[in-house]
């Protein structure tokens, strides 16, 4: 059974379409990440699922029940916000129990649930404190706890880690993943951080302009992006692109002739005519491996960025900026010339006009 179903959802603000005929099925216990740049409609979609925005058209089902017009509290969801949104005048305990008290739940049951949530999130010593006396990480734990006590099937996260510093963000990310495997709830998670998306998600939905561009596993998104936008958006440093022409199984760009016989075509488009080739920096091989690649060439090293675990090398290939990732031990220097090879097995080709994967 689907946990959340979204059917033909439209939302417009004064004639401006924010979500356009959107369909989405989320499986029970799935961790789905909505990923996109700002203004793509990902938070809007989450607010629609939560019932905080009225939809213009379409329907939303949660656990098979049509909740399109139900109040947020009646939808069986818990929500965690970017700014934590803790009630400042209440203690942590008051924050956790606010929703339960609104639902007129018996005192003993409230106590039981608050204790359990505090135990899961390890915030028992903080129960009597006010939010102002908590650190950012503790506040976000309380915010998660507030969703937890509701004992709901679906958790909604609206960029919950964006306000935290880098180290804390990484720690809480791992905790969230553990929490998901422990509770097994459906989780819908909005972020613009692709690391969070890649590490947490069972499936990622990449959104742009109110439309889902691609919805599949992180691995598939990364390695077989469905169009040039997705390919460019996911991955850091981002994919190298070169525009050329496909002609009889050969990709021509400038002087280079790249044979495409090792490319795994998607079968979606015509393998001929103008196209983009996209190669991720780590799929450019160097040294001996270059000779075994589908295509090899010699390029100048223009800039070296050592990043510790690996080294990013900037070069120019047939008139385009080209980045390649080498391991952190490599001794390449600016001004060197080096042999590189393109791993066509892991590359992407996109039609120039439609930008769809070929």
């Amino acid at each position: 059974m689907h946990s959340v179903e979204i059917r033909n959802l439209d939302l417009s603000f004064g004639g401006l379409g924010v979500l356009k005929n959107l369909n989405l099925d989320i499986r029970e216990g799935e961790f789905l990440v909505l990923l996109g740049s700002s203004g793509c409609g990902k938070s809007t979609l989450l607010n629609c699922i939560a019932g905080l925005l009225e939809v213009t058209n379409g329907q939303i089902f949660i656990n098979g029940r049509n909740v399109t017009w139900a109040e947020p509290s009646e939808r069986g969801i818990g929500m965690v916000f970017q700014s934590y949104a803790l009630y400042p005048q209440m203690t942590v305990e008051g924050n956790l129990s606010f929703g339960l008290r609104n639902a007129r739940m018996p005192k003993a049951e409230i106590e039981k649930r608050v204790t359990r949530a505090a135990e899961i999130l390890q915030i028992e010593p903080l129960l009597k404190r006010k939010p102002a006396a908590l650190s950012g990480g503790q506040r976000q734990r309380v915010a998660i706890g507030r969703a937890l006590v509701r004992d709901v099937d679906v958790f909604l996260f609206d960029e919950p880690l964006s306000n935290l510093d880098a180290k804390l963000r990484a720690d809480l990310r791992v905790e969230l993943k553990q929490l998901h495997s422990r509770l097994g709830n459906t989780m819908i998670y909005v972020t613009h951080d692709q690391i969070e998306a890649m590490t947490l998600a069972d499936r990622i939905a990449i959104m742009r302009g109110g439309v889902i561009e691609q919805l599949t596993s992180p691995d598939e998104i990364y390695n077989r992006p469905v169009n040039k936008y997705v390919a460019d958006f996911v991955g850091s440093p981002s994919m190298n692109f070169m525009e050329g022409v496909i002609d009889g199984g050969i990709f021509r760009v400038g002087e280079a002739r790249i044979p495409l016989d090792r490319y795994r075509a998607s079968g979606r488009g015509d393998m001929s005519g103008p196209a983009w080739i996209g190669v991720r920096p780590e799929h450019v091989v160097t040294g001996d491996a270059a000779e075994g690649a589908a295509y090899a060439a010699e390029v100048p090293v223009e800039l070296v960025e050592p990043m510790g675990s690996d080294t990013l090398v900037w070069t120019t290939f047939e008139g385009s900026r080209f980045r390649l990732r080498m391991d952190g031990q490599s001794q390449v220097r600016k001004g060197d010339r080096m042999r590189i090879g393109l791993a066509l097995e892991q590359s992407s080709l996109f039609d120039s006009a439609s930008e769809v994967r070929l």
Binding site: P72, M79, A85, G99
Partner: protein, 314 residues
Amino acid sequence: MADPGILGSTLPAADAVRERLSGPHGPRPKRALSGTNIMLYGTLLIVAMYYLLPLYVMLVTSVKGMPEIRLGNVFSPPMEITFQPWVKAWAEACTGINCDGLSRGFWNSVRILIPSVILSIAIASVNGYALSMWKFRGSELFFTILILGAFIPYQVMLYPIVIMLREAGLYGSLTGLVLVHVVFGMPINTLLFRNYFAAIPSELFKAARVDGAGFWGIYFRIVMPMSLPIFVVALIIQVTGIWNDFLFGVTYISSPERYPMTVQLNNIVNSVQGVKEYNVNMAATLLTGLVPLVIYFASGRLFVRGIAAGAVKG
């Protein structure tokens, strides 16, 4: 990326700075009697005197007897202190046929003040809450129209309201005056509350909705406890405004028995019969000003905090 050479060369500089910081430090000692200080405190003193001197004159005059006042030394301290003028102002001064002093006006004013303040703050805060958090189609237009009301001179509406109150059978009654105060306090107070509430993060509001709180639940349990300073600001504005009101009081109250304190004060001070009892007049004026004064002293700190909060966030 920074050049390692540059990074290396900045390190000794940082050390030097740290060394200097570890020595004796703190603000530079200042001379107490500098030219700037004399100018500053001199100006402050003159300005303070400018405001306090009239108050002083009122105070000393109100405790002098009439013979002493006739000597004409307004600034001299009283030779013989008497509280008779205060007693007379409160309980014996005559306006028209009533000779029970300002006390009658005081209780009228209290009876006008309390319901007016409570009602206007209650309605304006709910207005501001709805207009900032529960926006509906046309809410901005509604708000604009409401605010326009603050810019129309009262005099324009004075007579139409007389007719409206007469038709409603409220003309001349305290209820009618309360209604007028509530309505006229609405624009400015709604603006005040709306702007303050607009600074409350919308995610807090969303979280409360997910937690199942409704319109009133969010208002009473989330918004109100967070907004004490702005309630105090509104309270002070309304109390002083309504207590000091003269125009509405004299227009919409038809009989001297129900006049508010300000109108009665005017009638005592401006009565043309008999001798001008300056000491009684001063005492009466001070008595009338007492209520706003007490409110300011009691809540001044909160008032400043509320105004400042609105200024930064609104």
